[in-house]
């Protein structure tokens, strides 16, 4: 009776008789169950429908992938091709095109799994061997891959394709170091072994993580972090591959150049580029394609793709300019090779930085890259003394190191950078202290250099033991095109 009276008071009604007691009781029960009803709806809201790829994101990522393919064939092929003597151009085009093709196939078979599936902190596992699970023919289901935004996904196939171009083109970069004297079979063996033991683990260490949607609450953070790659866990920033691609290939190139030895006549005979027009065309295709490489690394179409895009534009232009100007000042003639090399140096340096630094920071990075890499192909090259024929270390290695370190500087919001995500549960953004971040970047660089040095040494050593790294002297003198490939590039 008391309860009913209280309820009646709650409901603002007058004191009720027995007949209305039942109604009141029922209403009270209904109100008791209301919270349960509401929580049932909340439960439905707490498990949202699985995210579906956005058509704009997918379209952009497919285009980005196309652009990176173009960077390799014909971009890199022509850039390198024009730099060698005419008797060797086909050998360079072959090493790039066939090497690229070989590695894309291996990527699909096992590369993707070892790089981008859950394994340990150093390398992935075998869950995606033969791309198992990416597409399920029984159900027709296409798996999705995470981006950097919660609730945003792209089809995993797209991610496989995009990252496959990265793996393949990185190995092709090394071609420049051993050009004009390597045995074709040795080149392919080196690329396969290096891809497997150097590229895949570094890609895993730097880029593999569980994705933003895995960070649902604070208590899973430590567990999710532990599943990520070793260098990712350190907090290193590498948007599109300063470490994974450029330092990796640059150091491999240097090791290879040392192990294979100098070209016959190096330092005595003239071996200038035979066609700088091709080199310029190649450099231009690289620049245009690199927008896919860098802006596509945002994994979705949007603000960070835009940031990476403009940074790739401005840094490259700045580097082309600074190399040209310093060459003009120091050596009287601003050269086409210098302008093209400057542009590539800028592209290399901005690669780890593009989505991680501000708009003015990118220009500074570009200006510095032109100057530093100019030293890399002149002073530093003389110091090292190896015949890194097409300056893979001087441009990619040194440019990658510079870019990786400067990413730590210009990421900071105080210097105009976008900062980094400090908590993936809330996706809140902050800045690491500059010196602390630069130190993390330096550690990432060091780990990459050490890992790839060992991997490269093994790759070149095995190739040497299996088939021999160099062609015989008379074949090198005549030219690799006719002796290795039975073809002549120019009939005249």
């Amino acid at each position: 009776m008391n309860r009913n009276n209280n309820l009646a008071l709650l409901l603002g009604k007058r004191e009720l008789g027995h007949g209305r007691t039942l109604v009141s009781l029922l209403v009270m029960l209904a109100f008791m169950f209301l919270p349960l009803l509401a929580s049932a709806q909340e439960a439905a809201a707490a498990a949202p429908p699985a995210p579906v790829p956005n058509k704009g994101d997918v379209a952009w990522m497919l285009v980005s992938t196309l652009l990176v393919i173009m960077m390799a064939v014909p971009g890199l092929a022509l850039f390198y091709g024009g730099l060698v003597r005419s008797k060797n151009i086909l050998s360079v085009l072959m090493q790039v095109m066939v090497g690229f093709s070989l590695l894309v196939v291996l990527w699909c078979l096992y590369g993707y799994s070892l790089a981008f599936s859950e394994g340990n902190a150093y390398v992935g596992g075998l869950s995606r061997l033969f791309l198992n699970g990416v597409f399920d023919p029984a159900t027709g289901a296409f798996a999705n891959a995470a981006t950097f935004s919660k609730g945003v996904v792209i089809p995993e196939i797209v991610f496989v394709a995009f990252q496959g171009t990265f793996a393949a083109i990185t190995a092709c970069l090394i071609v420049g170091a051993f050009a004009e004297r390597i045995r074709f079979s040795a080149a392919l063996i080196v690329m396969v072994i290096w891809f497997t033991i150097a590229y895949l683990p570094v890609a895993h260490m730097v880029w593999f993580w569980m994705g933003p949607d895995a960070y649902t609450s604070a208590d899973v953070v430590a567990d999710m972090n532990s599943k990520a790659g070793f260098i990712w866990q350190m907090g290193a920033l590498d948007f599109a591959g300063g470490t994974v691609v450029h330092i990796n290939a640059g150091v491999a190139g240097l090791i290879g150049a040392i192990m294979i030895g100098k070209r016959i006549g190096y330092g005595k005979e003239a071996m200038p580029p035979h066609n700088l027009v091709l080199t310029m065309i190649g450099a231009s295709l690289l620049w245009v394609g690199w927008f896919g490489f860098n802006a596509g690394s945002a994994l979705e179409s949007g603000n960070f793709a835009a940031l990476a895009f403009l940074n790739t534009f401005s840094a490259t232009a700045a580097a082309c300019l600074s190399w040209t100007l310093i060459e003009w000042a120091l050596r009287k003639h601003p050269s086409m090779l210098g302008a093209a090399s400057g542009a590539v140096a800028g592209l290399v340096a901005i690669t780890p930085a593009c989505g991680n630094v501000g708009l003015m920071g990118a220009i500074i990075i570009g200006l510095l890259a032109g100057v530093v890499c100019f030293w890399g192909v002149t002073g530093l090259k003389k110091l090292i003394g190896a015949d890194d024929a097409l300056d893979v270390f001087g441009v990619h290695g040194l440019g990658g190191i510079l870019g990786a370190l400067l990413t730590g500087v210009f990421n900071n919001q105080a210097l105009g950078g976008p900062g980094l995500v400090t908590d993936w549960v809330t996706a809140s953004v902050g800045s690491a202290p500059i010196m602390a971040q630069v130190l993390i970047q330096a550690k990432a660089v060091l780990i990459t250099v050490v890992w790839t040095s060992i991997g490269s040494f093994i790759a070149f050593k095995v190739a040497d033991l299996l088939v021999g790294l160099r062609v015989p002297e008379d074949e090198e003198r005549e030219g690799l095109d006719t002796t290795s490939h039975g073809e002549r590039a120019y009939s005249a």
């Binding site: 200038p272 090779l337 003389k382 300056d391 001087g394």
Partner: protein, 112 residues
Amino acid sequence: MKLITAVIKPFKLDEVRLALADVGVQGLTVTEVKGFGRQRGHTELYRGAEYQVDFLPKVKLEIALDDAQVSRAIDAICKVARTGKIGDGKLFVTDLSQAIRIRTGESGPDAL
């Protein structure tokens, strides 16, 4: 019969060809060559590699002539090919022991 071999600066070729036509010389053979005498070469720089290029592009003419035409041809060539600067080139005259027109089989001065 004589064979004149003249190495001249490439841009002078058209003027020399016209000057020779004016003195009645009908045919000549031209090759692109490289060479140097007292003319200095230049340095080319490709990234870190410096090349001293001594050879300069020249054009070589070979003209087979009857003895009577030789001095007129030499005058025509030298007058027109001269710029006064180092690198103008050189002209050589050698004896030609036989000449044959391939189409008709004519030989000697008739072949020229």
